[in-house]
Amino acid sequence: MAGTIIADTLTHSTAGSVTTDYVVNGSAKAWERHNASHSIDNSLSVSSVTDNGIGDTTVTYASALSTATQAISGSAGNNTSNDSILGNAAVQAHTTTTHRYLIMNSSGVAQDRAFNSTLIHGDLA
């Protein structure tokens, strides 16, 4: 493909070197940010989000992962309240194309938030 650079190592003039394995394996393979009505503001490699109920969302990826052992991180909050906890929904295990998560307040009650985002690290299929 035009514009392709094939390299196993990147070297900085003074700061040292890093192998490109770190770049390939360490970059997020999917991410999304959506609002309280689940409209997606921005994303990469996501085909949809599903609103499962208050504070409960499933994200489906466009490019599948090789295993369902992805690491998921995220954040959620409102303009006035950021007491949000993001947790995996135990009722449904992750798959190679989905993860489901819950947003709760500090009392453990599911809540909708204005800003919700998750990002996924893992290996692509």
Binding site: L44, S47, D51, N52, G53, T95
Partner: protein, 154 residues
């Protein structure tokens, strides 16, 4: 903009190409579905970057590819996909209309047991609507169900 010949290019690379070049398309379509009697109705919201890929054509694999991978994943001894090449080496889908893209997305992202028998039984298990047709407040969100009196011709 012309889509490059992407057959054989990793799907993730195609998605990165599209994100850099295509304007996201916010669809007003929503798909409401019920996949469990113990849970409220769920609402599928299309991703705007994915929708841009669907309308552009030449980027997304056929939906049967995802079904094949899902079959592999459903095997009890599944550990890792070994047929990921199907995503990258299968001839990509041509450009779709927004409505065709929603139909594709239903078959990709909604459980098969819902869309394969959506109109069987006493009432529909799935409805395609516009976002303005959904309730405007979420106060009773966890009680939402598909109406028994739904006019399917609407």
């Amino acid at each position: 903009m012309q889509t490059p010949d992407f057959k054989g290019t990793h799907l993730f690379d195609r998605l990165c190409w599209a994100k850099e070049r295509l304007e996201p398309v916010q669809s007003d379509y929503r798909v409401v579905f019920e996949d469990s009697v113990d849970e409220c109705a769920k609402i599928l919201v299309p991703d705007p970057n994915w929708m841009a890929c669907a309308l552009q054509g030449g980027i997304l694999p056929p939906v049967w590819v995802y079904h094949e991978l899902a079959k592999d994943e459903a095997q009890p001894d599944f550990k890792k996909h070994t047929r990921g090449y199907l995503l990258h080496e299968t001839e990509p889908m041509p450009a779709m209309t927004e409505e065709e893209a929603i139909e594709y997305l239903i078959m990709k992202d909604i459980p098969q047991h819902v869309w394969q028998s959506w109109d069987e039984g006493n009432r529909p298990k799935m409805v395609i609507c516009k976002k303005e047709q959904l309730p405007q407040t979420r106060t009773w969100r966890n009680a939402w169900r598909i109406s028994d009196e739904l006019n399917l011709a609407a």
